[in-house]
């Protein structure tokens, strides 16, 4: 099935098989790689997409956005008005907050958050030659996550060290998202410090990093070199999307700290 046909097929299935789905999801092509089912956007506080995640609140008595982010400074307390979950989330935490919640900023200092949403980290991405997996789609619809989830990078779910530990990734895993803090020492590079381990682990030769990265740099500098020749140094407060096919190296004398987000697993 080519991409166009898949788009037609999938576009028709939603209204026919799930009468409420058109309110829950929007469907987009993702350039040449099939189709994407995308969660409702979580950017404006009054957006009504609570039902997409099984959270039924649909009024302005609480925030109806889904948030995936990290706390950089300060703390706040979140209470889900759907399942009653309540958590205080503080600097150094990653969080996923489902639609239907109230919040209060604690203390006397401003709260600084960074939140990301990627439109390509899709729940279901049928490839052009694949049939749509409706079973998986049902699984997504029926998935029910706690209203508020937070994890500290100080006690990550996974910690990944590159060769020589020049890169260290602290990974916070959520059911529908992954957030990681990556710390790179000066001189650390993908080609020198990550590729050897990856080649050995995968038993094949990588020419460049094949991962897509979405996030921002908190401190330090990273030189990114694309396979086709583009090169740029990114630094503090730079938000980025780096598509597959690149090398990267920490430049300057300071550690580089960045955060990466996969927001729609």
């Amino acid at each position: 099935m080519n991409t166009s046909l898949a788009g037609l097929y999938f576009g028709l299935l939603i209204p026919l098989n799930r009468k409420t789905l058109s309110q829950l999801f929007r469907v987009k092509r993702s350039g040449g790689a099939g189709l994407s089912v995308i969660r409702c956007s979580a950017w404006m506080p009054h957006q009504k997409c609570a039902k997409a995640t099984g959270h039924a609140a649909a009024d302005d008595k609480s925030c109806q956005a889904r948030h995936v982010g990290i706390v950089d400074e300060g703390s706040f307390t979140i209470k889900s008005d759907v399942d009653g979950t309540e958590k205080t989330i503080k600097a150094g935490d990653a969080y996923v907050i489902m639609p239907g919640h109230l919040y209060t900023v604690n203390g006397e200092l401003p709260l600084v958050l960074y939140e990301f949403e990627s439109v390509l980290d899709d729940i279901i991405v049928p490839q052009p030659d694949e049939d749509l997996d409706m079973e998986a789609f049902d699984g997504v619809l029926n998935r029910h996550e706690p209203g508020v989830m937070a994890k500290s990078f100080a006690t990550p779910d996974e910690q990944v060290h590159s060769k020589g530990s020049l890169f260290v990734s602290n990974v916070a895993l959520f059911e529908s998202a992954k957030v990681q803090q990556v710390i790179g020492k000066p001189g650390a590079s993908w080609a020198r410090n990550v590729k050897p381990t990856l080649d050995e682990h995968m038993n094949c030769e990588h020419t460049s990093c094949t991962k897509r990265h979405v996030g921002f740099i908190k401190s330090g500098q990273l030189k990114v070199k694309m396979d086709f020749g583009g090169e740029v140094i990114i630094g503090p407060e730079d938000a980025f999307v780096i598509e597959p096919g690149h090398d990267a190296e920490v430049v300057g004398n300071a550690d580089m700290v960045m955060y990466e987000f996969v927001t729609g697993l």
């Binding site: 950017w43 506080p45 009054h46 302005d60 609480s62 925030c63 300060g74 706040f76 919640h101 109230l102 919040y103 209060t104 900023v105 604690n106 203390g107 006397e108 200092l109 401003p110 709260l111 600084v112 958050l113 960074y114 939140e115 990301f116 949403e117 990627s118 439109v119 390509l120 979405v214 996030g215 921002f216 990114v224 694309m226 086709f228 583009g230 740029v232 990114i234 630094g235 407060e237 730079d238 938000a239 980025f240 999307v241 780096i242 598509e243 096919g245 690149h246």
Partner: protein, 56 residues
């Protein structure tokens, strides 16, 4: 710094020069960058900010 490079294979935008700045009451300021296939936002909330206050 704002850089959009090379056919969107690499997109970099700094939060100091965001695509959009918004303010919800005096308690919340947001800086939002559209990265093509993703969006990034920096949000600053003042002490005491609550959903009830901000939605007004």
């Amino acid at each position: 710094m704002l850089l959009c490079l090379i056919a969107s294979r690499l997109v970099v935008k700094n939060f100091s020069t965001p695509d959009k700045t918004f303010q919800l009451s005096r308690m919340v300021e947001g800086y939002r960058n559209n990265l093509g296939t993703a969006k990034g936002m920096r949000v600053v909330l003042q002490p005491g900010a609550t959903w009830e206050v901000i939605k007004e």
